[in-house]
Amino acid sequence: MRSVFLAGLALIVVACGKPKQEIVVLPEKEIEIDLSQVGRQKLSDYNFFEGPLNKLRPVEGVIPYGLNSSLFTDYAYKQRFVKIPAGQQADFSANDVMEFPEGTILIKNFYYPADFNKPTESINILETRLLIKENNEWKTLPYIWNDEQTEAYLNVAGKTIDISWKHFDGELRQIKYSVPNMNQCKGCHLRGDKVMPIGPTARQLNGDYSYADGKQNQLTYWQSHQVLKNLPVLNQVSRLASYEDKSFSVNERTRAWLEINCAHCHRDDGPAKNSGLFLLASEDNPSRLGVGKAPVAAGKGSGGLMYGIVPGKPDESILQFRIESVHPGIMMPELGRSVTHEEGVALVRQWILEMKPM
């Protein structure tokens, strides 16, 4: 009865506030939908963590990891874990994602600290995405956390969450964070016609991680914990720069940023192969990288510009235009952000500015 009353009141206010016809949307009824065919209903069902769920304290066999360069998703922080079935090992792959055994689960938590300058305090976890290798295929499962931060529930339809935080500069930021629906997972994770993980490649994992028992290179840690086999000596393993680490060159940092933000599609076997633009850090053909390349299927996304990259001229470069845009029909990447990655686009801008004309 209370809800009837509230809805009625809202109608009156909008109806009489303005002469123009207003739109009133009644809240969606909570409907129980059986998702048992899709996956487990609750994150806690997997027993990845011990203690309060939102502390994300992994049980034995669930290994935290990080990437040298991380995809930008509206400034969300991420905490990643991998669970490889006991007694099994991933096979080292020099140029691609590790060959994980059947039953492997990749766990990625997205969260915002209330104050970015105190990143370990007052954390609000929004979602946890799982990639599970079953029957030799990767399955994508999104879980959304409750407000109490006690549980996350399987949700295939996606959700928009209002989130605010105090940014590095002390300003309050507010966005509508979008949890993708399950179909959208494929937007980034599709390689050919198969879903694939993106992050855990050799060159992304080849870096130090601060484990409970001290800092160590992740690949050697995996090897010593017997979850990785056929690891060559480390100095033969390629390493992607961290785009945040200024000890790397602008070129190395930019190529790392482009790889993790763009190359999941812009690669020979990715969904954007038709564009003729290839942004893996290993790409060494300037034309495939966009230099002096005319757009193929950009449509309005070209912004009336002629080439992907015009050396020395970021404002004449389609690539710069699209990574700066927040228009749904223009912006790149297409999914996963509603705001511009200011530090990232500044880096790319500098890279194009410093690029020597052909």
Partner: protein
């Protein structure tokens, strides 16, 4: 019950004399998107009668043998008026044998309904519209199957698209029939598609009624089209497409436009009161020339086709129409003047004073094909014009029998 009683005086006090009732929508966003993901092969998703508002694109991917059925196009309304995310209203991708029927889609930020890479698609009694009528800010396409095979669109309605209402692109084996398109820039458009039949439709009050286009630089080139028994009338709407898009070059008052395609037969159509031209047959050379100097592309929503002045570098593309057979149609035009705000309109007004052409061919020669097989038999009353556009219209000629020949009979099988 007490709460309920409280409400009534408030309504009386504050709203007496006002007659603008708010439109109340329901939300089924989460549950419907969940269903679209969990639906099993062979299932039907029923959309009950009601008005439903969405804030994001709906998407179904990789499903087969699925029916999505509303309670009727005037009863089940899906509105994307509050959309903040995603470019389409409903996006169906991959999979096979998908039937969508008996509902309405309104006001998406980009295309209302896009179907990509589906084999076996039926759109039946779907109404797709931008409810506030024609506007440049409206989405590009109302009904948009692309890269599909075996497509049937019937008894649908498309209204308000800033590009094309019913638009089939890069698809094979397509039937568009018994549908209506009005207040779009292009009513019905078949683009780079093969084995297409367009019949028994009504296209009216668009900028251009029915377009059959073949454009460069896409995954496939179109051919083999039958356009018959359509009612194409009063397509005199101002052109509200965003500049740079290919349909922005359609002059208001265009009944049918045949661009750069081949193997097309057109008969039994009633082409009435389209003030500039009943049917135009043109090459991509003319489109490119008309667009020279225009900004090639401008920022707006979606991936609509734009004019590509680099088409000459596409060696597989033939910019010249050929094998075009037009016969036994009805042409009438009670307008004395074409659309004068457009160069083509001005030209017609000058060269065929107070008698806009029923059929106009640009006359630009194909250097690789002297016999183009362009055959027109519309009787001695028809105003048939050869523009000679390549030579500044020097030898522009009007003669009903100048293209009299035995044309191709288009067979689809």
């Amino acid at each position: 019950m007490r709460y309920y009683l409280l409400l009534i005086p408030i309504i009386l006090f504050s709203c007496s004399g006002k007659n603008s009732e708010p439109r109340v929508w329901q939300s089924i966003e989460q549950s419907l998107q969940t269903q679209l993901i969990t639906v099993q092969d062979g299932d039907t998703i029923e959309l009950p009668e009601g008005h439903y508002m969405f804030t994001k694109s709906l998407a179904m991917d990789g499903k087969s043998n699925i029916v999505i059925r509303g309670a009727g196009m005037n009863k089940t309304i899906l509105s994307f008026k509050n959309q903040t995310e995603g470019a389409q209203g409903l996006l169906v991708s991959h999979g096979s044998n998908i039937v969508l029927e008996d509902f309405s889609i309104e006001d998406a930020k980009g295309d209302n309904l896009k179907v990509s890479e589906v084999r076996g698609l039926t759109l039946r009694r779907i109404r797709s519209a931008w409810a506030d009528g024609p506007k440049t800010e409206n989405g590009a396409y109302a009904l948009y199957p692309v890269l599909c095979k075996q497509v049937l669109i019937e008894e649908c309605i498309a209204m308000g698209s800033s590009d094309a209402g019913i638009y089939v692109g890069q698809s094979d084996s397509v039937i568009i029939r018994s549908s209506k398109a009005y207040w779009n820039v292009a009513g019905i458009e078949s683009e780079n598609s093969r084995w297409v039949e367009i019949y028994d439709n009504e296209a009216y009050e668009n900028t251009g009624g029915i377009l059959v286009f073949d454009l460069p630089g896409l995954t496939q080139y179109g051919h083999t089209t039958k356009v018959f028994n359509n009612h194409v009338h009063d397509n005199n709407h101002e052109n509200f497409a965003a500049k740079g898009n290919i349909v922005a070059s359609i002059p208001p008052g265009t009944g049918l436009m045949i661009l750069a395609t081949h193997n097309l037969e057109m008969f039994g159509n009633k082409i009435i009161d389209n003030k500039t031209v009943g049917t135009g047959i043109i090459s991509y050379e003319l489109v490119a020339a008309l667009n020279e100097g225009e900004v090639e592309q401008e920022a707006s929503i979606g991936g609509v086709q734009t004019v590509d002045n680099n088409f000459r570098t596409d060696s597989l593309y033939n910019p010249f129409p050929y094998g075009i057979h037009i016969h036994d149609n009805t042409f009438e035009n009670s307008h004395w003047f074409p659309a004068l705000g457009h160069d083509i309109g001005k030209l017609f007004a000058m060269k065929s004073f107070m008698n806009p052409p029923d059929i106009a061919f640009d006359g630009i020669a194909d250097p690789r094909r002297s016999d183009r097989g362009i055959c027109i038999r519309e009787g001695e009353e028809a105003i048939v014009m050869n523009l000679d556009a390549a030579n500044e219209f020097e030898n522009l000629k009007i003669n009903p029998l100048q293209f009299d020949c035995v044309g191709v009979k288009v067979e689809l099988q």
